[in-house]
Amino acid sequence: MTEKLLQLEKVTKVFRRAGLGLVREKSTRALDEISLTMYPEPAIVALVGESGSGKTTVCRLILGLKKASSGQILYKDRDVSQWLEKDWKNYRKEVQIVFQDPYGTYNPFYRVDRVLWTVIKKFHLTSSDRESRQLIDESLEAVGLRPREILGRYPHQLSGGERQRFMLARIYLMKPNLLVCDEPVSMIDAALRAMFLDHLRDFKKLGISCLYITHDLNIAYFIADSVVILCSGQIIESGKTESVVTDPLHPYTKELISSIPNPDPRKKWTEKLEAESVGLQKLGKGAGEQGCIFYDRCRYAMAKCEKKRPSLVKTKDREVACFLTLEAN
């Protein structure tokens, strides 16, 4: 297979607020020429960025919940903007999502079973009710839930961890080509996180690729094969997880990695982060202007960083958007 599973080509998303009366017109460039490719071989790619960096916008664009302002999104080499309703239906079967909030994704009036039954019926996954029941049991067991204890319950009777795993059962049931996870474990406990992430790994073995959106590099390092670092709507570094995490090149990635709290009291943060450097979030404004988006906060900033924005350049094991690495090569 040479075709690409999913490809984002210079995708830009601008949110506009129309001016009306006292409200000034305003536009926010949430994503700026993002290019991202996922290949058919199952892999877990982590999209990492701080809040406001545009992670969720990427997720929405991929799911087709929002339209890109410019650029193309290709699924199996076909442009999604040209699609008809039936293409979308097929796409929804092959690309699935697990959202962040396990409390907001269920309809509290229905038993949780309905989530799985709807999927089975909509996509005609089975030919008989008996088969469906078997499939449901199998998928619940695959994610470590006991069907007898879970089925027939209402969402409020399940814990956050159970709810998220129930969503994974839905994924197991459908076996999509691509799973998009938008911070799926940020609202569940550390102890249950590991379990959830292990299931994602199992899914990879079943041939399900995963785009994992998170702000937590620890998690990215734990599960992802490659990482993409997003900062103010731009990709500033991407590559194999191991190389990016152990040897970050972009100053922003460096800052991110050094800020991760280490669960070892013998290794504490050595230097103090200056409040001014993170100061009044100028970052958001940076995008859309001329210079490098990280200019205000970068300790290695040079004169040209203010005037010109570095583009993403391929080095030997990754892509980086920084003049420093360009010069070093």
Binding site: A190, A191, D264
Partner: protein
């Protein structure tokens, strides 16, 4: 070492149709002067309720069943509301959970901080304004922030405003309930460092509740491990991370992912329900080392080393 706060056998229950929900069920510990004490545990173990209990902020249907909270020579739980008000904020302050949402959206930052200062001191409005701007500077924010509305600030900055607010009267003890959860790592680091720095500068004592063990490792001096409404282990951070004794603490530490260790193990089983804690040791149904006695008798917190307490049948006897 001198204890600034002493909690004795605190029980905070919630009345439900199915009976009492025993969220905090007999917790005793001390907070020493000028230390940062961490409280860790999974969600639902009663960390936040414990803090609310100490501050007497428990709302109905919750109530404080029994216990003592000794602070500045008096029992907070038996103090008259009027007298408690004199201590709150000035001596004992609080950074609420999700404090980025704790600010009033229609008031400027300055008005909110001034309000707190004027209510709890005899200072004039002018003086309070000055204090506001110095409090903001102390947490590394420019004075202009005072004139802004909460929506103009990012989540991390709002959280820092909350930190400025709770420390502006230089309280001797600050109880911080998950002050850095839901922030990205850089903001998290900045805010934790700010808390640690203020603590040094103003000689405060801090109780830090967080579920992330890594945060505790970064700034805490001692740490309490809470499970199912009770404390399982208390110890000095270095000691506890290097040589955890309680099987639950071991489990918690193994479940933390880090850049140096890619394999994490989760604790099998689910947290029990506060309506019906397991008999005997509350952790025994999930414990890999359980013995016969564990299901029958509840272990008490006993001292096993210097400043190291553990509630487990595996130790002692």
């Amino acid at each position: 070492m001198q204890a600034i706060l002493q909690v004795e056998n605190l029980r905070v229950y919630f009345t439900t149709i199915e009976g009492d929900c025993k969220s905090v069920d007999g917790v005793s510990f001390r907070v020493y002067n000028k230390e940062i004490l961490g409280i860790a545990g999974e969600s639902g173990c009663g960390k936040s309720t414990l803090i609310e209990g100490i501050l007497r902020l428990v709302k109905s249907p919750g109530y404080i069943k029994s216990g003592k909270v000794l602070f500045a020579g008096s029992d907070l739980l038996r103090l008259k509301e009027r007298n408690l008000r004199k201590i709150r904020w000035k001596e004992l302050s609080y950074i609420p959970q999700g404090c980025m949402n704790a600010l009033n959206p229609v008031l400027r930052i300055e008005e909110q901080i001034v309000d707190g200062i004027v209510t709890h001191t005899d200072l004039s409005g002018e003086k309070a304004k000055e204090m506001t701007s110095s409090a903001l500077n102390a947490v590394g924010m420019p004075s202009e922030v005072a004139g802004m509305y909460p929506h103009e600030l990012s989540g991390g900055m709002r959280q820092r405003v909350a930190i400025a607010m709770s420390t502006c009267l230089r309280p001797s003890l600050v109880l911080a309930d998950e002050p850095v959860t839901a922030l990205d790592v850089i903001m998290q680091r900045l805010n934790l460092q700010t808390i640690a720095e203020l603590k040094e500068r103003f000689g405060m004592t801090v109780v830090l509740v967080a579920h992330d063990m890594a945060c505790h490792a970064e700034i805490c001096d001692r740490i309490c491990i809470m499970y199912a409404g009770r404390l399982m282990e208390i110890g000095i951070v270095d000691q506890l991370f290097q040589k955890p004794l309680h099987p639950y603490t071991k489990g918690l530490l193994e479940a933390v992912p880090s850049l140096e260790r890619r394999r994490v193990k989760s604790i099998a089983g689910l947290a029990p329900s506060p309506l019906n804690w397991p008999r005997g040791c509350r952790f025994h149904p999930r414990c890999p080392f359980q013995k016969e006695v564990c299901g029958k008798k509840e272990p008490v917190l006993r001292e096993v080393g210097s400043e190291h307490y553990v509630a487990c049948h595996l130790y002692g006897d």
